[in-house]
């Protein structure tokens, strides 16, 4: 007799879904990928294809044969992990290492915790840090950017240190000699480094799209960038010969990629605005400490992973203000 659906309200739903969110983030990363192909040629494209395929295959195999649950391979989240993983490594990384990194990212970083939404750490960063400690030489041998029109699509790139590497090893003076203080080149991406992180303009383009689409909240990246800018700015004012100007810190290394695309990962970041601001401050602070005084030239990955671990605590501490509930006043 009951021919009609009985369900609780609401009976309408926004058209947003997880899949659309993931695909929009992927779309936002396309400009950075195009720039990467322009500077690093075939190697960038090859590596991205390999990690995406390896991540998706790992997830599929685990869901099919270990968990034996529903297959959610087309929700775009594994592909996104693959792209972010590729963006964080040198373009000429041996293929097999990239595959190992992908398996760790998805297998340990994500599926071991129960899959999408349940992982405490950003899977791509888990994979990257695993590779960094397992294959330290390969992971720190950076190809230099060189437009494909000059050197050809398939040509092997010349390797060399990244600006942050030079800064760590040799200091500000050498950095200027090496031509790494041409701000325009830095913004366009004409430098050594992980291929997804080099071009600030392409990353910002994608970030603006995500912010307009309300997929990421500006609070986290803004808090990270401001913290880095102010912190390194103070150091620069104290001793300009030892500490480089703050705007270089913003475009060097993986800060923009991390701030806009990895720290904003919904699963592993706090939910409230105040929580996001504290989270961003933590990432910015740890990044600068590692960059200026740590053993590694770059610290964004570690900073994000450390703050990921604190996210549940931040969520507990910063709950939204409940309507009609007055905070007990301090006496």
């Amino acid at each position: 007799m009951n021919k009609y659906t009985i369900s609780g309200s609401p009976h309408v739903h926004s058209t947003e879904n997880t899949r659309k969110i993931m695909y929009r983030v992927l779309l936002a990363l396309v400009p950075a990928l195009l720039v990467a192909i322009y500077y690093f040629g075939w190697y960038a494209l090859r590596l991205t294809i390999v990690t995406v395929a390896a991540c998706m295959l790992t997830e599929w195999l685990i869901q099919k044969f270990l968990i034996k649950g529903p297959l959610t391979i087309n929700d775009g989240s594994a592909a996104l992990t693959g792209v972010l993983l590729a963006f964080n490594v040198p373009a000429n990384l041996p293929i097999w290492m990239a595959i190992v990194g992908s398996i760790v990212a998805i297998g340990i970083g994500k599926m071991a915790f129960g899959g999408l939404g349940k992982n405490p750490f950003n899977p791509a960063l888990v994979g990257r840090v695993f590779m960094l400690v397992s294959f330290p030489t390969a992971m720190t041998t950076w190809p230099q950017a060189a437009p494909i029109f000059d050197k050809g699509f398939f040509t092997d790139a010349v390797t060399g240190p990244t600006p942050l590497g030079i800064l760590k090893e040799a200091g500000v003076g050498t950095l200027a000699e090496a031509g790494n203080m041409q701000f325009l080149d830095m913004v366009l991406g004409n430098r050594g480094g992980a291929f997804g992180e080099v071009c600030a303009i392409a990353l910002l383009l994608g970030a603006i799209y995500l912010i307009c689409r309300k997929i990421i909240d500006i609070a986290t990246p803004l808090s990270i960038l401001l913290t880095v800018f102010i912190f390194t700015g103070i150091c620069h004012l104290i001793d300009p010969t030892q500490y480089i100007a703050p705007w270089y810190h913003l475009v060097y290394g993986g800060l923009l990629l991390g701030a806009f695309f990895m720290a904003t990962d919904m699963v592993t970041s706090p939910m409230t605005i105040r929580g996001k601001i504290l989270f961003g401050f933590g990432i910015g602070f740890i990044t600068v400490v590692i960059r200026l005084w740590g053993a590694y030239p770059e610290g964004v990955s570690f900073a994000i992973l450390i703050m990921n671990a604190l996210t549940p605590l931040i969520n507990k501490a910063f709950k939204p203000q409940v309507f009609g509930v007055v905070k007990p006043s301090k006496k």
């Binding site: 007799m1 009951n2 021919k3 009609y4 659906t5 009985i6 369900s7 609780g8 309200s9 609401p10 009976h11 309408v12 739903h13 926004s14 058209t15 947003e16 879904n17 997880t18 659309k20 969110i21 959610t72 929700d75 899959g115 999408l116 939404g117 349940k118 919904m266 699963v267 592993t268 706090p270 939910m271 409230t272 709950k319 939204p320 203000q321 409940v322 309507f323 009609g324 509930v325 007055v326």
Partner: protein
């Protein structure tokens, strides 16, 4: 026009779909038999005072209120009581009802039948409230809380504003909007009566800006009759759901927050719905009890959507028939709007005091999709107009952890559905929150009784 105001915390923007906004109210013909449920309001159902075979007149009392939160029920038609039996109403439960075989209208004694505007308010505050109670007026936005209870300002409190909730933030529904356009003066007199009832000189009508025609018409009418409608103001509100939530509209208009667990009168506001305000006018000035209302019959695939003036007890399937019949592929029949309405399993449920609309939707529109994992995006918390964390309430309610539901303010949830609307993982958040609320509420009541 006053500057636009809004509540700030949370909110969503569902598609408005006000398909029947430009269609005038039509009088719906009386059916052969009407089925009048005795429980038409929040609280206890009325006691039946007629027997099988009795002859009743239109507007005659047939059920008396039982208890404090309850409302009288009057006969919506003239005729003979065929039987007193149960009927499945919109909640899906069988409820006692009076079945009346309809004859041509013959009004009960004392009811003034005129279309002329009666501007002279003869009753005083106490008499108005008694009249509202006698005429069985309830909140006609859907919650059906007895209006006279709202008007009885408790000792030590003062009503500063009468706020008329004309936001009509529910998508699809247009019954209040049409009433504002077609019965403007009667409505404004209703506001005046309410202001007199609670002894205040400030009446504010809150309307969303997607109803500009109503805002302009009300502004114009008030300006033309400055003396008659002194103290009444129109406040445009941003089109944002749930602007018409009682606590949200108070916050938007006065900036005051109803304290958690307290009633709106704490902020000095009495909030009344448009249709109820019109009913107050009819009751106080014409002695006419609440026996009819405007019902919007709508849906994207409905051939002739419309706004009908319907006597209570009219079966909904007749209204659907008048709107061009049941379209192909309808899977959801909803009593009310899409955000807070209740889905029903049959189409022949009787229209009652809280039936603001009948909405027909296909599977595609209702968007029943597969649930995926929570990705902790926090959109539900951003959308919650009460500042709650729906993802957390959902989780702890599912675990039957009622200490956590209580400490996370589950009882403050207004069940607006913004969280579930916005969830990209399609998690039935509100279903679990309702469950948690019911359980937590029972625990709190049991504890208070000790």
């Amino acid at each position: 026009m006053n500057p636009i105001k809004t509540f700030l915390k949370g909110g969503v923007h569902p598609e408005e779909n006000k398909l029947s906004a430009d269609l005038p109210i039509q009088d719906f013909p009386m059916p052969k038999q009407i089925i009048v449920p005795l429980g038409q309001c929040l609280g206890a159902p009325a006691d039946c005072i007629v027997n099988k075979g009795d002859h009743v007149l239109t507007g005659q009392l047939i059920g008396t209120a039982k208890g404090f939160i309850s409302a009288n029920v009057h006969s919506p038609a003239t005729g003979t009581v065929a039987k007193i039996d149960v009927v499945m109403d919109h909640t899906g439960y069988y409820k006692p009802a009076v079945f009346i075989d309809v004859e041509p209208d013959q009004w009960a004694e004392g009811i003034i039948e005129t279309d002329k505007l009666l501007t002279d308010i003869k009753l005083d505050s106490k008499q108005i409230i008694d009249k509202v109670k006698e005429c069985g007026i309830v909140g006609m936005g859907g919650a059906t809380f007895p209006t006279h209870v709202k008007l009885m300002v408790p000792e030590g409190k003062k009503a500063e504003y009468v706020i008329i909730n004309a936001a009509e933030c529910e998508p699809y529904l247009t019954c209040d909007y049409r009433l504002l356009l077609e019965k403007t003066q009667e409505f404004l007199m209703g506001v005046k009566i309410l202001m007199k009832a609670v002894n205040t000189d400030k009446g504010i009508i809150g309307i969303e800006t997607n109803k500009m025609k109503a805002i302009e018409l009300l502004d114009k009418t008030i300006n033309e009759h400055k003396d008659l409608y002194a103290g009444i103001e129109v406040q445009p509100l941003k089109t944002k759901y749930p602007q018409g939530g009682e606590k949200q509209i108070i916050k938007a208009i006065t900036g005051r927050e109803v304290p958690s667990g307290k009633l709106p009168i704490e902020t000095g506001c009495v909030v009344v719905n448009v249709a109820s305000t019109y009913a107050v006018y009819e009751a106080v000035q014409k002695n006419k009890p609440l026996i009819e209302r405007i019902v919007t019959v709508t849906g994207k695939s409905v051939k002739k959507p419309g706004n009908f003036r319907v006597r209570f007890g009219t079966p909904a399937d007749l209204l659907i028939e008048a709107a061009g019949g049941l379209p192909e592929g309808i899977t959801d029949v909803i009593n009310g709007g899409p955000m807070m309405g209740k889905s029903v399993s049959v189409t022949n449920f009787p229209c009652i005091k809280g039936t603001s609309g009948i909405l027909l939707m296909t599977l595609n529109e209702a968007q029943d999709r597969r649930q995926t994992n929570c990705i902790r995006c926090g959109r539900c918390a951003m959308a919650c107009p009460m500042g709650l964390q729906p993802f957390l309430l959902h989780k702890v309610a599912k675990q039957n952890n009622f200490d956590e539901t209580e400490s996370n303010h589950i009882m403050d949830c207004i069940e607006c559905g913004s969280c579930e609307f916005t969830c990209p993982a399609n998690i039935p958040l509100l279903d679990y929150i309702r469950y948690g609320k019911a359980k937590t509420g029972a625990i709190i009541r049991a504890r208070n009784q000790k």
